[in-house]
């Protein structure tokens, strides 16, 4: 039985829609609407979904880079949402984030040593300039960069190298949880493989846990232990990675998997199982949020919110799966 590191319960993050001269709030975009999951120590949970499903907002809500409206985020027994700025500070050292675009997330006017040491300085982890430099050098070695490069600026590096700097920055404060938001999505295939291998190696060596936010399902299958599929602010299916890919339960997960084009010349062509576009999260469909695009929709779906149905492995939110459902 392994230890639960992070537990998110019924998290809601809504953004107000303001209109008119007085900026009156006329509605809310329910970016995250009742999301729950747990992440065990040393494991990887992937949060997948299409653009606008709220997966990034979940990551940012955990760190309180956006303020959630309600819910609980338990990290090692502490509720992050009830802490004040002061109480939150030590936990921000524990939980670090890696962003998608290393081009825009690194300050172009700072040298690598200062970029990587920013967290070290912030949390007072080095007592002397030489200790600071040693720490930066060792973390650069960890991400397989040469410490000789610490005097350079971000523009002197390629995309893959910049992502290594981003990872080094996060590792410098010795966190236990990394939130990776589309950390490999902007990289070319050959570079993506290098970064994925690096992340795997760091997990083995340092016992890190990852919350891996991505839209790329092939990456998820390769690196995740558990997967949560999001659609319009809610988790529609949650399962161990093998079960999710071999027997997806929710029609959305099924459609998503069928839409992924394979590079194997002997596989069948992709199938269009999910029609139309993602509706606006400001005005989500009634009942099951997926019913407007679901190939198996029936009369109950637009009327009633489906419950979370516990399956032998994982869970899913769909009327077809509930005991009293009309799964015909």
């Amino acid at each position: 039985m392994s230890e639960v590191l992070l537990e998110v319960e019924d998290l809601c993050t809504w953004f107000p829609i303001k209109k008119g001269l007085l900026r009156k709030t006329v509605g809310h975009v329910r970016a995250v609407d009742g999301v729950s999951f747990r992440l065990e120590k040393g494991k990887t949970l992937a949060l997948v979904g299409e653009s606008g499903c709220g997966k990034t907002t979940v990551g940012r809500s955990i760190l309180r880079l956006v303020e959630p409206r309600s819910g609980r985020v338990n990290y090692c027994g502490k509720d992050l949402l009830s802490l004040d700025e002061r109480g939150l500070r030590p936990l921000r050292q524990e939980i670090q984030m890696i962003f998608q675009d290393p081009m825009t997330s690194l300050n172009p006017r700072m040298r690598v040593i200062d970029l990587v040491a920013e967290g070290i300085d912030n949390f007072g982890l080095a007592t002397s300039p030489s200790e600071r430099e040693d720490k930066v050098a060792s973390v650069l070695k960890r991400v397989k960069m040469s410490p000789d490069q610490m005097g350079r600026f971000p523009h002197e590096f390629s995309g893959g190298q910049r992502q290594r700097i981003g990872i080094a920055r996060a590792l410098a404060v010795e966190p236990s949880l990394l939130i990776c938001d589309e950390a490999v999505s902007a990289l070319d295939v050959s570079i993506q493989a290098q970064i994925l291998n690096l992340l795997g190696q760091l997990q083995d060596e340092l016992g890190l846990s990852y919350l891996f936010i991505t839209h790329d399902l092939s990456v998820v299958r390769y690196l995740a232990d558990e997967v949560a599929v999001m659609y319009l602010g809610q988790i529609v299916e949650h399962a161990p990675v093998e079960r999710l890919f071999t027997s997806p339960a929710h029609p959305y997960t099924q459609g998503l998997l069928e839409a992924v084009p394979s590079a194997d010349p002997n596989t069948e062509a992709v199938r269009v199982a999910v029609l139309g576009d993602v509706p606006s999260p400001a005005n989500p469909p009634s009942g099951c949020r997926f019913h407007t695009r679901c190939p198996q929709v029936f009369d109950r779906c637009p009327v009633e919110q489906p419950p979370v149905v516990v399956l032998p492995l994982g869970s899913a939110r769909c009327h077809l799966l509930s005991d009293d459902g009309e799964g015909s």
């Binding site: 299409e50 653009s51 390629s158 995309g159 893959g160 190298q161 070319d188 295939v189 050959s190 570079i191 993506q192 493989a193 290098q194 994925l196 291998n197 795997g200 190696q201 839209h215 790329d216 399902l217 092939s218 990456v219 299958r221 390769y222 690196l223 990675v241 093998e242 459609g255 998503l256 069928e258 839409a259 992924v260 084009p261 394979s262 590079a263 194997d264 010349p265 002997n266 596989t267 062509a269 992709v270 199938r271 269009v272 199982a273 999910v274 029609l275 139309g276 576009d277 993602v278 695009r293």
Partner: protein, 324 residues
């Protein structure tokens, strides 16, 4: 089946630090009528610049320095501006990666689609409109009459890409250059656009030059594939062969690096190093710095595309010439 487009030794160069560097270096390829050729490679390999060269839209200060671009056997490089204008649209159209930035935000999408048509054909406004709406319907835009009057910001990414496709097809071109047509789209929308391109190719007999880095998308659409690395075509062949039994070390590496081909728990195959920037391109084979099979000859001379044993691909690699 007749050849529609043929590039022979196409070279497009840009001045970098005082000297002309061939960003597209002696690229040769051909597309038969109604077929799809995919040009695959990582960022900076010159695949988009190849497409822009075909339309003779290379941005300054780049220039096409040598080679031929033949459409129906006629070299279009000496064409005058009005002649080129007739080629663009009538023979060749292009769709771009970013539908968000390639549509004019202050013009209704319908007017943008009709602009091309009215430049190329003498049609009445009403007839043009009818054709436009019919095409909107054909490319799967729901409520086409109303959507015809929408502005780009009122549409989703997938719808905008459909508008782009309609805009490219309204003049009934015989060749469509599709530059990363699905890269900016979500996977469910991507599947819809792939399906649409496949239908259009079948119904209109449009040939497609598909430019992408995504080998999965390539596998869905291409008849033939050419792999580019650092400005050169390093391997070319039918889809089945190239994806099933690639022979160039770079192509092999690209396929092996795909997470979908990895076994869980095993590290992914890595191609060492990074793509060099054009000013650092090595002499001889440009892949040799990252290649596990590099040998002396790779530094000394440039490998040319050679026929492999029958039924396989054509590869530009010395290691293959020695030990096939």
């Amino acid at each position: 089946m007749s050849t529609l487009l043929e590039l022979e030794g196409l070279t497009t160069s840009f001045p970098i630090e005082g000297k002309l560097v061939p960003i597209v270096d002696e690229v040769s390829l051909k597309i038969d009528e109604g077929k799809c050729l995919a040009l695959v490679g990582e960022s900076g390999c010159g695949k988009s610049m190849t497409a822009l060269s075909i339309l003779r839209l290379v941005p300054r200060p780049g220039v096409i320095t040598s080679g031929e671009i033949r459409i129906d056997g006629r070299n279009i490089l000496p064409y005058s501006v009005p002649q080129m204008r007739a080629v663009r649209g009538d023979d060749v159209s292009m769709i771009f990666q970013e539908p968000m930035t390639s549509l004019n935000p202050v013009t209704r999408v319908g007017d943008q689609v009709l602009e091309a048509l009215r430049l190329h054909e003498k049609v009445s406004k009403k007839a043009a409109q009818q054709r436009g709406v019919a095409l909107f319907k054909r490319v799967g835009i729901p409520d086409p009459e109303a959507r015809f009057r929408s502005y780009p910001h009122q549409m989703s990414g997938g719808l905008k890409q459909r508008v782009m496709i309609a805009m490219a097809l309204i003049t009934k071109p015989r060749l469509l250059l599709a530059d990363e047509p699905t890269t900016a789209l979500d996977v469910t929308i991507q599947a819809q656009i792939i399906e649409l391109l496949r239908e259009l190719q079948r119904d209109f007999k449009t040939a497609i030059l598909l430019i992408t880095h995504d080998l999965g998308v390539v596998n869905q659409l291409a008849d033939e594939i050419s792999v580019m690395y650092a400005g050169r075509v390093v391997e070319t062949g039918p889809r089945q062969k190239l994806l099933g039994s690639p022979s160039h070390p770079y192509t092999k590496g690209l396929l092996a690096a795909l997470p979908s081909r990895a076994l869980p728990g095993q590290p992914l195959f890595e191609i060492q190093g990074t793509v060099p920037s054009p000013k650092d391109w090595p002499e001889g084979c440009r892949f040799r710095g990252r290649c596990a099979e590099a040998r002396e000859v790779c530094a000394a001379s440039i490998p040319r595309l050679q026929d492999n044993p029958p039924g396989l691909t054509r590869t530009a690699c010395f290691a293959r010439e020695e030990s096939p």
